[in-house]
């Protein structure tokens, strides 16, 4: 136990999540034939890319003690609009299309962020509103036309299947590798840059952060713009993965991204959690989602119910373990550990 306590608490949470994922893979591999084969690995990792990118953006926002419920609609809008752009300009440089998607996402995030940070409207109200507004705009704009993969350039359609390198049957897709690199960079920025420390400071205690001359408004605005930009990128990935984009594209992804972040140990009240954790959370949610589909004897109708139970279980266990670790760490070091929620209700009552 003492060796474990030498790790930082957030690392411990990530490690425990890795253990949960390993156990889940082990159990499913007993239940499902050919579970560890290449095709399933590829399917999980490809669907992971979209959720993980969204969860990373959601994490940045949640860390500042806000929430972004509009990301599903931003994914829909950017996927659709970028599809239109590519239909119109199939010969332009690929980077332009990606930049286009990211810029639109960032613009939508900027609107969210301005309303939250400067107009001081609570994030849940702003993004609940823009969730509806962005989707409404898309539905009116689309005029019930659908983007199809026919008109898209080949490189977009081929992107999800392009492989960087392979371990035997396990292909590491370019998209997946890119996502992991992106998240690692974000993690390093959060941990290393002044901006990263500000994000945690604002989320831990906005008033104290203000007293310490942290530009709270700018940090919050930045988190929303980043979340929008990442949602734009996810929109592009969505377009390349599915090819066909209807006005319902990305519906419900906002809840999935919150679920991934929370399962990944990001505190819903801000100030603690990591982007790598949210990546692991996204992996677990995707893994369960896709694995449950293949368990023999378990009809597809069971999937959501089991997923709900598992999310709840993951959060409850994480919460209890986190609280226990927090107490142990406090005792071992004689001071509260960062990244662990302070003792709460139960502890007060006890």
């Amino acid at each position: 136990m003492t060796t474990l306590l030498r790790f930082r608490p957030e690392r411990l949470r990530e490690l425990s999540l890795v253990a949960v994922i390993a156990v889940a893979v082990f159990i499913f591999s007993l239940l499902i034939d050919n579970y560890l084969g290449g095709s399933f690995f590829n399917r999980v990792t490809t669907s992971l890319a979209i959720t993980a990118v969204l969860a990373a953006g959601q994490t940045l926002v949640i860390l500042t003690r806000n929430i972004d419920l509009s990301v599903g609609s931003i994914v829909g809008v950017t996927a659709y609009v970028t599809g239109e752009y590519l239909h119109g300009h199939p010969d332009n440089a690929p980077m332009l299309a990606v930049a286009y998607a990211i810029a639109i996402g960032a613009g939508l995030g900027l609107l969210n962020g301005t309303l939250v940070a400067y107009a001081r409207v609570p994030a849940i109200i702003v993004t609940l509103g823009t969730l509806a507004i962005y989707r409404t705009w898309l539905i009116n704009h689309s005029d019930s036309r659908t983007i199809t993969s026919d008109g898209l350039p080949d490189w977009v359609v081929d992107l999800p299947n392009s492989t960087l390198f392979s371990f035997g049957a396990w292909d590491i897709r370019t998209v997946v590798a890119g996502t992991v690199v992106l998240i690692l960079v974000l993690q390093l920025m959060l941990g290393g840059l002044k901006w990263g420390r500000w994000v945690y400071a604002v989320g831990s205690n906005p008033d104290a952060a203000r007293q310490a001359a942290v530009p709270v408004e700018r940090v919050v605005l930045g988190a929303f713009v980043a979340s929008g930009a990442l949602a734009g990128l996810a929109g592009f990935l969505f377009l390349s993965r599915f090819g066909t984009i209807t006005v319902n594209a990305g519906n419900g992804l906002e809840l999935q991204s919150v679920a991934a972040a929370v399962v990944g140990g990001v505190n819903i009240f801000g100030g603690s959690g990591t982007v790598v954790g949210s990546l692991l959370g996204a992996l677990l949610v995707n893994l369960l989602d896709l694995s449950l589909l293949r368990v023999p004897g378990l009809s597809e109708f069971w999937r959501d119910a089991v997923l709900g139970v598992l999310i709840l279980a993951a959060v409850a266990v994480d919460f209890l373990v986190g609280r226990r670790l927090g107490r142990l760490a406090t005792r071992a070091r004689g001071r509260p550990a960062a990244g662990v929620p302070p003792p709460t209700q139960g502890a007060v009552d006890a």
């Binding site: 109200i125 823009t130 509806a132 205690n205 009240f269 709900g308 999310i311 409850a316 209700q345």
Partner: protein, 348 residues
């Protein structure tokens, strides 16, 4: 005191909006003023309105329940499955379906109130899980053929022109308003929502009240689901999908603080009228459902934005005159989830 004045101003604001919407609607269509139009307006979203009433308690209490639409579907699916697959008398099946809602609420309430998990997360899992539980029961079928009395309960007027659900809602919102504003329990709902720690140290049984409210939320969601089934005459797994956003929007538009601890049932009632009349007017003006949703979204943001800006402008001119520092913002600050600096940000 400040809070109360703000709330009055809020209700006044909603009243002005309502009057404006009313005038526009009257000029828009001759059908608007017909009695039947007003009844239809309520009748078409009566299940949501029933849940709005209990959601007010949940949010004032400082929690949120994202699972209500899924619990509605779950209860309706329980009812439909019992009706299709078993010989249970239909009346008993209704009771069991309502009990299913109670169990759903109790379960989530236990995690929130007893374990101290954030309700946002618990009910997010509930949103996915109870929808899934309903799906297990009905799969992708549509189940109908309910007894005659049950379908007419939802579709036919019971007294005069009013259906059972409409009368139930009218009674419910009045009783709920009295409970929230005129009883000791109602006071404790506010105190807990304001600051659960203070409430606990003041000797209030926070866990019990939270459990009670979450359970009631499950019950009323279940009831709304059963009523929805009786109005539609059939049940599918995707019943009421997405209702939670509409329901929460109406409550927040009613001036209930998302951080808990403030709001009035009068405000929520006005908000119901505003939303229904806007949707009705847009409908009469042949504007599609989708745009109506967008308009409500804009309204939700403006509803908090405008008073904030007005307050800020008023304050800055005051500061220039008096040269005193300004009081805090109305919405509690956009970047803070809780209304005051709190040393224990993980608290409910």
């Amino acid at each position: 005191m400040r809070d109360k004045a703000l709330q009055r101003r809020w209700e006044l604001f909603l009243l002005v909006v309502l009057a404006a919407v009313f005038c526009v609607n009257v000029s828009l269509s001759e059908f608007y003023l017909r009695e039947q139009n007003f009844i239809n307006m309520f009748q078409l979203s009566i299940e949501k309105l029933i849940v709005v009433v209990i959601m007010t308690f949940v949010i004032v209490n400082g929690e949120i329940d994202l699972s209500v639409a899924s619990v509605m579907a779950f209860s309706a699916c329980v009812l439909a499955t019992l009706h299709r697959d078993t010989a249970v008398p239909f009346e008993l099946a209704v009771v069991i379906a309502l009990a299913a809602g109670v169990v759903a609420g109790l379960l989530q309430g236990a995690f929130v109130a007893l374990m101290g998990l954030p309700s946002l997360v618990v009910t997010l899992a509930g949103l996915i899980g109870f929808r899934g539980a309903g799906r297990i029961l009905v799969e992708d079928n549509s189940i109908g053929d309910f007894p005659e009395w049950f379908e007419s309960l939802g579709q036919e007027p019971l007294v005069g022109r009013f259906s059972f659900a409409l009368i139930l809602f009218a009674v419910l919102i009045v009783v709920a308003g009295i409970v929230l504003h005129r009883t000791a329990f109602g006071r404790s709902v506010f105190v807990i929502g304001n600051n659960a720690n203070v409430a606990r140290y003041s000797g209030l049984n926070v866990a019990r009240d939270k459990l009670l409210i979450m359970t009631a939320s499950g019950f009323f969601a279940g009831l709304a689901g059963v009523l929805f089934a009786s109005r539609l005459g059939s049940v599918r797994g995707d019943l009421a999908t997405g209702f939670e956003l509409d329901i929460i929007t109406i409550v927040l538009l009613g001036g209930v603080s998302i951080f808990g601890g403030s709001g009035t049932m009068v405000g929520v009632a006005l908000s119901i009228l505003v939303v229904l009349n806007i949707r009705n007017g847009l409908g009469l003006g042949n504007i599609d459902q989708n745009t109506q949703t967008g308009v409500i979204g804009v309204l939700l943001i403006l509803a908090v934005l405008v008073p904030n800006l007005v307050a800020r402008v008023a304050r800055s001119s005051q500061v220039r005159r008096v040269g005193e520092p300004s009081p805090p913002d109305h919405a509690g600050g956009g970047d803070t989830r809780q209304r005051e600096p709190d040393l224990h940000p993980t608290q409910e």
